[in-house]
């Protein structure tokens, strides 16, 4: 009998080409994803060195960070900011020059990189997916091994060699059991985890999310959980594939379908061998009871600064750790919040529903269910995670629900998540956002971000303040 293995251990081992004396291993990259961020730096360097992409078929490029969320028909030519326009154009130029498939501004397959990978079946169980982005762990929701890489040197390395050097992290299993209460979503689960273990709580670990709550969750929900692994400090987050995964993948464009279905069957047989053995060992374990969770909102400038909506802004004075106390005080100063303020009384200036965390079809359905028959009292916008999600939502009539409620209905992009394309929250404005980061200035200089689930963001749009969606 071979030693019991975890999902992570097994997939990792399958990709090791050679170790080096420093304890790193050279891993084979099945598939690589490139976006329009600062990736031109990698191509610039490749060009200056006369290098080519070693396995161009194994890389896919898509424009997401810098594409406009409005007036798309005339983009990129109509992008007013010359620098932004240049970045969008550069990906197209670079992809062409280096022979990589690229989904540009007008492609029906375009969308946020972590949304389209799974959506197209590019992401599959057991594959090593490299992507030049912090939120690459999203792909782990399907049982792939996600490896986040840098946008220049490391991307250049993957492009030039189709491999990546990595030091094997430790493992942490987070088990969530039980049934989630009504209106408590995957976002609330991951925010509760981060609030508990802290933003550095999983540094150096590959996380596997397990338990009955995860098993009962859709792939969309699982992606929301894995997406924010990095906010807990982990670069890798994974969930064992199961029938939910296989059903999700079947028939997607890149899913195995050759040889009259024989390819699918062979792949499926392999995928079924991947989940962690019952007696697999993890370096750390943590467990959570789903039934105790509540809708969460962030109040500070780190995702760990999150609390159930029924709580109040914490008193820095009550934080015993001096260092943490200073950080909390600084966060509250930045957020312009007084200690003791009930979270549900905090007035909001605008709402953003979007990003790779929460802009898939299920997220839009959840938000639409809340605002159906109601109206937004503050500016609010929905930016679907992909063009396909947008089309799907329109087919279901969700766009009409949002428009009738006074929301803007935009085109797929990262948009106000990080503001790369110019969709910024104004200085001093407070935004209820379904994104993953509330760092200072994340949505624009001086922007005040509260992160939460789509349903909670929709509720805030209706009332104009942070609101417990359960009481709306």
């Amino acid at each position: 009998m071979s030693a019991p293995l975890s999902l992570f251990d097994r997939v990792w081992a399958r990709h090791v080409i050679v170790p080096n004396p420093g304890g790193e291993e050279l891993l084979f990259v099945d598939r690589n994803l490139v976006h329009d961020g600062s990736t031109f730096l990698a191509f610039d360097q490749m060009r200056s060195e006369g290098r080519t992409v070693r396995k161009p078929k194994q890389t896919l490029a898509v424009t997401d960070h810098y594409v406009p969320s409005a007036q798309r028909a005339t983009a990129p030519a109509s992008i007013a900011n010359a620098e932004i326009r240049r970045v969008v154009e550069l990906l197209d130029i670079n992809a062409r020059e280096f022979g990589i498939e690229h989904y540009g501004v007008h492609d029906a397959r375009q969308g946020i990189i972590h949304v389209i990978g799974p959506e197209l079946g590019w992401t599959q169980p057991g594959l090593l997916i490299a992507c030049c982005d912090s939120h690459t762990a999203t792909h782990g929701a399907l049982g792939a091994l996600p490896i986040p890489i840098g946008q220049s040197n490391q991307l250049r390395h993957v492009l030039a060699t189709q491999t990546v050097w990595q030091k094997k992290p430790k493992t942490l299993r987070i088990t969530i059991d039980g049934v989630l209460p009504a209106h408590v979503s995957a976002k609330d689960v991951i925010l509760a985890i981060i609030a508990r273990i802290g933003i550095g709580g999983a540094v150096g670990h590959a996380v596997e999310y397990a338990g009955s709550t995860i098993r009962a969750m859709s792939i969309e929900g699982r992606m929301t959980i894995c997406n924010m692994s990095i906010e807990a400090g982990a670069r890798i987050g994974m969930i064992a594939p199961d029938d939910t995964t296989y059903t999700y993948l079947h028939g997607r464009p890149f899913a195995p379908n050759g040889n009259n279905g024989a390819d699918w069957d062979r792949a499926l047989a392999y995928w079924r061998t991947l989940p962690s053995d019952a007696d697999a060992r993890f370096d750390r374990e943590l467990s959570l009871n789903a039934s105790e969770l509540a809708p969460m909102v962030s109040w500070g400038t780190s995702p760990e600064d999150s609390s159930p909506i029924s709580d109040s802004v914490p008193e820095p004075a009550s934080v015993t750790d001096a260092e943490k106390r200073g950080r909390v005080q600084r966060a509250l100063d930045y957020m312009k919040l007084a200690p003791g303020t009930p979270l549900a009384s905090i007035k909001i200036d605008r709402v953003f529903i979007g990003s790779c965390t929460n802009a898939r079809i299920e997220d839009l359905r959840a938000a639409a269910a809340v605002i159906q028959g109601r109206r937004a009292t503050i500016p609010a916008m929905v930016v679907p995670g992909s063009t396909a999600v947008k089309r799907q939502a329109e087919a279901e009539g969700l766009d009409q629900v949002f428009l009738a409620a006074g929301f803007e209905w935009r085109d797929a992009s990262c948009s106000m998540c990080g503001g790369s394309n110019g969709d910024l929250v104004a200085a001093g404005q407070r935004c209820a956002s379904t994104t993953n980061r509330n760092f200072e200035g994340r949505q624009g200089p001086g922007a005040l971000t509260h992160i939460m689930s789509p349903a909670m963001a929709a509720a805030a749009a209706v009332t104009g303040h942070l609101t417990d969606v359960r009481t709306l």
Partner: protein
């Protein structure tokens, strides 16, 4: 990459508990080309801490003090470089003229990016870092030495502190080795791996 051996330079105490990569390079500079000379990236390093909304240097920010214009080493707070994986954060650090960072902990991705770009990040226990910080604050403009071959940091008061670094990173920094070149030395092994992988998983053929 410029090789890193031994560095003696002015060390600046950057006594801020948490600096994430979005503070090292604010998101709006993500699309900045890194042109020859690298002045642009030097400018954006810790931009919003160093400059006010009118692009004027903030007089009260430590790195704006004349004595730190030539700082080559930063002693950092306990949480430096966490957050988004933007590699521009490492470029900016390097282009600003910093070749070594000394702190209690660094964001994983940022740390890796720094090493790839020839910036050495040194992790020392928090009390040691606090001691260095205090010495530097007491003697602005003091110099420190980082000796990579010996893996030793020499404080302004002459005390030495050993640090750990993994052997591969050390070798590459010492030789200024290009990472792609190192990997392609294994090309035969990579190709053999790929051949077997393809045979084992034929359904991947269309994209392999």
């Amino acid at each position: 990459m410029t090789p890193f051996t031994t560095l003696t330079a002015v060390a600046a105490p950057l006594d801020i508990a948490k600096i994430d990569t979005g503070m090292i390079v604010p998101g709006r500079f993500q699309r900045l080309p890194r042109r020859a000379g690298h002045a642009d990236y030097a400018r954006v390093f810790l931009h919003d801490l160093r400059f006010d909304a009118q692009e004027q240097p903030r007089a009260d920010f430590i790195l704006n003090q004349p004595v730190y214009q030539q700082a080559g080493i930063l002693v950092t707070g306990p949480d430096f470089g966490c957050g988004s994986s933007r590699e521009s954060a490492a470029y900016a650090t390097l282009d600003f003229g910093v070749r070594a960072l000394i702190g209690a902990s660094f964001g994983d991705v940022y740390r890796g990016n720094c090493m790839q770009n020839g910036v050495l990040t040194i992790v020392l226990p928090q009390p040691v870092v606090a001691g260095l910080m205090a010495q530097l604050q007491a003697a602005p403009g003091a110099r420190m030495t980082v000796d990579l071959p010996q893996q030793i940091v020499t404080a302004p008061d002459g005390a030495t502190h050993a640090f750990d670094i993994d052997a591969t990173r050390k070798e590459r920094l010492l030789e200024g080795l290009d990472d792609v070149g190192v990997t392609l030395q294994h090309l035969a092994q990579i190709e053999a791996f790929e051949k077997q992988y393809r045979a084992d998983m034929p359904w991947l053929a269309p994209i392999l």
